[in-house]
């Protein structure tokens, strides 16, 4: 069975819940993607940029100190070493080259913390697109440096003043722009969310993480790992890692959500605390109140701060293929410190959720092999962590 099906469903999740006005744009993206992804010219160009420009393949690094400390074997897939500092560039390059083949002139994107926005601004500068990035006013205030980075790269950052003025509203605003400027514009979504075909396209472009990891770990240890661990916001780095191992039934998937201030308080754990709903084009688990109004997500890690989650994760959860767990703000900071001190690698706060979870699993899994997606580097989060520590004193 190949997923998603023709209608964009992963089992009971996914689909295309969109205003009629968007149906033509989505069909154009879907048809073009199906055609273009097979062309050797496209693959050649994308591979060229992935390797020469972005820095693929990324190393799989055996973290000896951390492994000794925890009593398990930890391999880190070093997506943090990519250009712009996170896995986001894999998808940004893939979709931007697609947009180029489609003949589009302008790219729009939503961004929360600004990581996806920076990746998009980067590839737009590289490939000569006009670039507009929608960002919630609240996020602009919290992420001044990334706003400036995007501007330096030549992108325009458009403040979003609707709703909660954060990522979900930036996403809605990007859709509104797209509806209005269909013919010239490509909407480059940053995660495995939104209406079909986006969850499929973003997963495909991120699957390079899992494909490389699989052959690297086989080469290094001659067997598959016991666990794959990755953080889940919208879910693109985790799905990129998990998907190529889907058929390796013995490899267990652990997706780590952000429980923010706690699972019974403000959090971003859509899979653990969300209810089935229809949000921004897809049927999935969504943080919402009893009347179906979407709630604001909270996590110290800005990249996990989204009230929905990719429909394929919802599917993995329902069929039991992946297990989803949660780590709170405080624990994430502990994970952040742990990797920095043991290995000299400062991880992104998002990634720190996955790192911390190793500590929780270690006692019952002595000598087991854990392959972790180190999805991004943590320079961007230094201010947040400093303020967090100050407030706890």
């Amino acid at each position: 069975m190949k997923l998603p099906d023709k209608r964009g469903y992963f089992g009971n999740f996914g689909g295309k819940y969109i205003p009629e006005t968007l149906s033509l744009c989505l069909k154009e993206v879907e048809d073009s993607y199906r055609k273009i992804k097979k062309s050797s010219r496209f693959r050649k160009e994308l591979n060229h940029y992935l390797s020469r420009y972005a820095g693929r393949p990324t190393p799989l690094y055996y973290a000896r100190n951390l492994s000794d400390y925890l009593g398990i074997k930890v391999f880190l897939k070093r997506e943090d070493l990519l250009h712009t500092g996170a896995h986001k560039i894999n998808n940004a390059l893939g979709q931007a080259v697609l947009a180029k083949f489609m003949g589009k002139k302008r790219i729009i994107a939503e961004t929360g913390a600004g990581q996806h926005g920076v990746a998009v601004a980067t590839v737009c500068s590289l490939l000569g697109f006009k670039c507009d990035v929608f960002m919630g006013e609240e996020d602009i205030r919290r992420q001044r440096m990334n706003v400036f980075r995007m501007k330096v790269l030549g992108a325009k950052v458009i403040p979003v003043r609707s709703g909660s003025r954060t990522l979900k509203d930036a996403c809605s605003e990007a859709f509104r722009d797209w509806v209005t400027n269909v013919s010239s514009t490509y909407y480059l979504i940053g995660s495995v969310i939104g209406p079909h075909p986006y969850p499929l396209i973003v997963r495909d472009f991120q699957a390079v993480i899992g494909k490389e990891s699989r052959s690297q770990i086989l080469k290094e240890t001659s067997k598959l790992p016991d666990y794959l661990v990755a953080c889940v916001g919208g879910g693109s780095n985790s799905l990129g890692l998990f998907y190529p191992f889907f058929k390796d039934k013995k490899v267990k998937f652990i997706g780590v959500e952000a429980s923010g201030l706690g699972l019974n308080s403000y959090n971003a754990a859509s899979l653990l605390r969300g209810k089935l709903g229809v949000f921004q084009g897809t049927r999935t688990f969504v943080l919402q109140d009893k009347f179906g109004q979407i709630q604001n997500a909270h996590s110290l890690a800005p990249g996990l701060d989204y009230p929905g989650v990719g429909p394929e994760h919802a599917f993995y959860k329902t069929i039991g293929r992946a297990r989803y767990v949660a780590v709170n703000d405080k624990e994430a900071v502990e994970g952040f410190d742990m990797l920095s001190r043991k290995e000299g690698i400062i991880p992104a706060l998002e990634t720190s959720h996955a790192i911390y979870y190793l500590k929780r699993m270690a006692p019952k899994n002595k000598n087991k092999v854990f392959l972790v997606c180190l999805s991004g580097r943590g320079d961007k989060d230094l201010d947040i962590v400093r303020n967090f520590k100050k407030s706890k004193k």
């Binding site: 006005t21 509104r176 709903g277 109004q293």
Partner: protein
């Protein structure tokens, strides 16, 4: 209680076009909704389109976004909507259609929702983000309950799609005048007329035009080639600017009258 179909028949006999007014429920406050809807009826509106406020209205411009937010802030929700409409269901003698995003209804339960609106004499349902690909169960449930399903057609909808949409639509087709969100500034009447004529060649279902209609002049000219118009942002904006003033309902009544030819 009158079916939308019959309303259009009545209008046709009088050689008139439908004036459809959109206002979100609970805006500006749930306690004002009943009076606002009764005022719309008294001002000569033919069909009322009542919006269910949603936190993330993807297809709406700033005016309706703000109105939805205010309604939610002031406590608008589905149970309150059912209660308030129940109180006026026998007084409102024109058809009422509900316009909503899917999630509040999905959360409530589609079948349960349809049963509820049937009880309060609502004639039709239109779901902004439920395109025809996802509409099978919805269409079936509405048909069983005798609720009309209104679908949208836009300038970018292909002829093939127009045919499929027309076959699922009951009541009237909602033609969105522009590729964009609610409340646009410029309408190009010539293109619009051509598009509507194309659709009318395909289906005998009435076609009404919405998005970007602000003046009586527009209402009149669009009425020449369509079966009616939907006015939304214009009325919502008027309410937002005037509801705190004295004699608000009277001025609303007058304002609606200035929009109807």
């Amino acid at each position: 209680m009158i079916k939308i179909k019959d309303k259009f028949r009545q209008l046709q006999k009088l050689n008139k076009k439908a004036f459809i007014a959109y206002v979100p429920f609970g805006f500006p406050h749930p306690s004002l909704s009943r009076d606002i809807f009764l005022t719309l009826r008294d001002s000569g509106v033919d069909i009322i389109e009542v919006g269910i406020p949603f936190s993330d209205p993807l297809a709406d411009g700033p005016i309706i976004q703000q109105a939805s937010n205010l309604a939610l802030k002031n406590g608008a929700n589905l149970p309150l909507f059912f209660d308030e409409f129940n109180k006026i269901k026998d007084t409102v003698d024109i058809p009422v259609a509900v316009m909503s995003y899917y999630n509040p209804i999905y959360r409530f339960g589609l079948k349960k929702f349809i049963k509820k609106i049937k009880e309060i004499n609502i004639e039709a349902l239109m779901l902004v983000d439920l395109p025809l690909e996802e509409a099978e169960e919805y269409k079936k449930s509405c048909a069983e309950a005798g609720i009309d399903t209104i679908f949208f057609i836009t300038p970018t909808t292909s002829v093939e799609r127009v045919k499929r949409i027309a076959s699922l639509t009951e009541g009237f087709i909602y033609y969105i005048s522009v590729t964009g969100i609610t409340g646009p500034k410029n309408l190009q009447l010539q293109n619009l007329a051509r598009k509507i004529r194309e659709i009318k060649r395909i289906t005998s279902t009435p076609v009404c035009v919405g998005f970007g209609i602000h003046t009586k002049k527009q209402v009149k000219s669009i009425g020449r080639f369509s079966d009616g118009v939907v006015v939304g942002s214009e009325i919502v904006k008027f309410i937002a600017e005037n509801y705190k003033k004295k004699n608000f309902l009277k001025t609303l009544h007058k304002h609606i009258k200035t929009l109807i030819p």
